[in-house]
Symmetry: C2
């Protein structure tokens, strides 16, 4: 029994469809009286254990071609700016470590929105420390100080554990939403996940 219904939001900064979910999850959850727990992790290791050494959107060209067109249409429908990144997928390790600090400090939502915007609307290199510092400064934070914390030794095992936890939850793609152990996959399932949390529905 929890007093406030919770949706866990599992995402990777390299993920195109996580851009769409990140842009709307806080407002959608708030409107339903649901709290979002942000769970940055790395999808790469999970893909690798499925035998993929690259994004499936690169490995399967027809699927990739469709995804970019679908993303363009979806961004237009959501009035979100979109520019196809010149590099895909971008390395998301450093941004994920910064996001872990943001979870601790309470600014992860703002930071995540800034990173996804940089990657998918401005074609900026979110793997770069300089870009991340600039994004942190842009939301009024001390960029270099936070980056130093993100690059501390302690963050490495925490991010690895979070990734292992994602795999234990059955997560195989992002964005994913988990409500009391119930898994929802894809931006299209966000509203269903929030409804699940709000209504206290439990798996049969």
């Amino acid at each position: 029994m929890t007093a406030v219904p919770i949706v866990e939001y599992w995402f990777d900064f390299a993920s195109t469809y996580s851009y769409l979910a990140t842009a709307r999850i806080e407002a959608a959850a708030r409107a339903a009286g649901v709290v979002v727990e942000w769970k940055p992790f790395l999808l790469g290791p999970i893909f690798q254990r499925q035998g993929w050494n690259d994004s499936p959107f690169n490995l399967y060209p027809a699927k990739g071609k469709y995804m970019w067109r679908d993303l363009e249409r979806s961004c237009a429908r959501s009035s979100l700016p979109f520019r196809r990144p010149s590099v895909f997928p971008r390395n998301s390790v450093r941004a994920a470590r910064v996001a872990m600090v943001g979870v601790d400090d309470g600014w992860v939502a703002l930071f995540a929105q800034a990173v996804f915007h940089a990657n998918f609307a401005e074609d900026r290199d979110i793997a770069s420390a300089e870009v991340l510092v600039a994004l942190l400064e842009g939301i009024g934070l001390s960029g270099r100080e936070i980056l130093a914390r993100a690059e501390s030794l302690e963050l490495n095992p925490r991010l690895r554990q979070q990734t292992e936890r994602a795999e234990m939850l059955g997560i195989f793609g992002v964005p994913s939403f988990v409500v009391a152990g119930e898994l929802f996959w894809g931006n299209e399932r966000l509203d269903q996940a929030i409804e699940w949390a709000r209504s206290g529905a439990s798996p049969r």
Copy 2:
């Protein structure tokens, strides 16, 4: 310029999510003044050219486990009966050939609904000629006569051409919807595809 807006519906009888789309596409299209062109084809050959000799839901267990749970939830939300089939995916060649006859004769929608219901609500073997005859009789048709037409030599190349056409359109999964060359993938995109057809939106 077409007088009546058209959505092409590309599907395979083995596909779980095509069950959901088939159950609602005619009513949804009719409400929007859009006509559905049914396009049965075989996804297997397209999967094989991607290096898959089985459904990705079988090849990737985490994805498969999620799909069955998600399908169960989605059927419940749509008040559709669901029983997990004891065999998946079922061979859909014979049913697809019958459906081609149904496209010619104008009863494909009723037949497709019956086949998906048999596969995913009743766990019946839709690869069996006897089952297909029974399903045809159930919608008031001459089962054996239609089956004989479906098994005529002429249908083979037509179904193969339809599958090649699907691949040319960039189709890599089902259900898919095509509106004037614009591709939409997944049951979640049905409403968007219908809207695209209705509004005459064209690709940039």
